[in-house]
Symmetry: C2
Subunit: 175 residues, 2 copies
């Protein structure tokens, strides 16, 4: 099946600090015309950091879009063009105060492929050494530790509901 969509017209409707928004008109492979809204985002990194084989580092923070305090893995935005691995090392240390001696690549995911190009790179970090938490301005968050079993229970109980966190937990624990 031919799925390609051809851009007929693209208009930028918002240029923000975090997102840019485009309104495009496209032609589908069967000749139908359609309308697409696209949010552009610089992408980010997510770190599944094991303090020991049973203990995972989390952060708790207020998430303004939902007005809820959420439990998530350490994570952060990429600067445009930044090497994701450089960002992963920075974000882990800024948010939790830990550096890691051992890193593994857990691939990537798209968070909302229907309307956003946001791509998140997932990493596993082990052999941690504590240095010092060093948050960005305007960022208030609390690092904490949880056992793997507790994490699975909280996922099952809708107490961990952050998609990137579930993705990294799955990627870090299959095959």
């Amino acid at each position: 099946m031919n799925f390609q969509e051809k851009t007929l017209k693209s208009e930028q409707v918002y240029d923000g600090r975090i997102v840019k928004v485009f309104k495009d008109n496209v032609e589908l492979s069967d000749g139908q015309k359609a309308y697409r809204e696209v949010v552009k985002h610089s992408g980010g990194v997510v770190i599944l950091a094991y303090k020991d084989s049973e203990t995972i580092l989390f952060v708790r923070q207020f998430r303004y879009p939902m007005k809820e305090v959420m439990l998530e893995l350490p994570a952060g935005k990429l600067e445009y063009g930044e090497d994701p691995f450089v960002a992963a090392k920075r974000e882990l240390e800024e948010e939790t105060g830990y550096q890691a001696k051992k890193w593994a690549d857990l691939g990537y995911v798209y968070t909302s492929p229907g309307y956003s190009d946001e791509k998140l790179y997932l990493y596993k970090a082990e052999d941690l050494i504590y240095t010092k938490q060093n948050l960005d301005e305007g960022e208030i968050l609390e690092p904490l530790e949880m056992s793997y079993d507790e994490v699975l229970k909280k996922i099952n109980d809708n107490e961990i509901v952050d998609a990137k966190t579930l993705c990294a937990i799955l990627r870090g624990n299959i095959l």
Copy 2:
């Protein structure tokens, strides 16, 4: 720790068909001022449908923000205010042609809590009966079947990179 953020000013900067965008000024719990961009989205549903105990229904479609053909679980947007379970039944039948006699709630996730309020409700569907695929206008997609083992392998190989799909696979297979 007090995490609350107080909205000082909220300005709508884009009002689209799929997303609305707001620029807010907030005050953090420590008195710092910060800036938040928020994408509002109606949310959606994701369906982990088992044709038999080993076989999962997928759809393949072109995703315009990435200009890539992606493998994802059947899913769809909520109408504002719609019951997610009603939407799940509709989307499964529209996209794959199947109705299900047995449904289970797999909770929910937020896809991008840093900047979007998009909430996806996850369901498991079993005991399937074929009726007829019936796509929305402007939607071209191909249903297909994959074994659970093949799904895990494709996740591990970055051939399934859709976050909501990984979330539903994890939620459907823990505890």
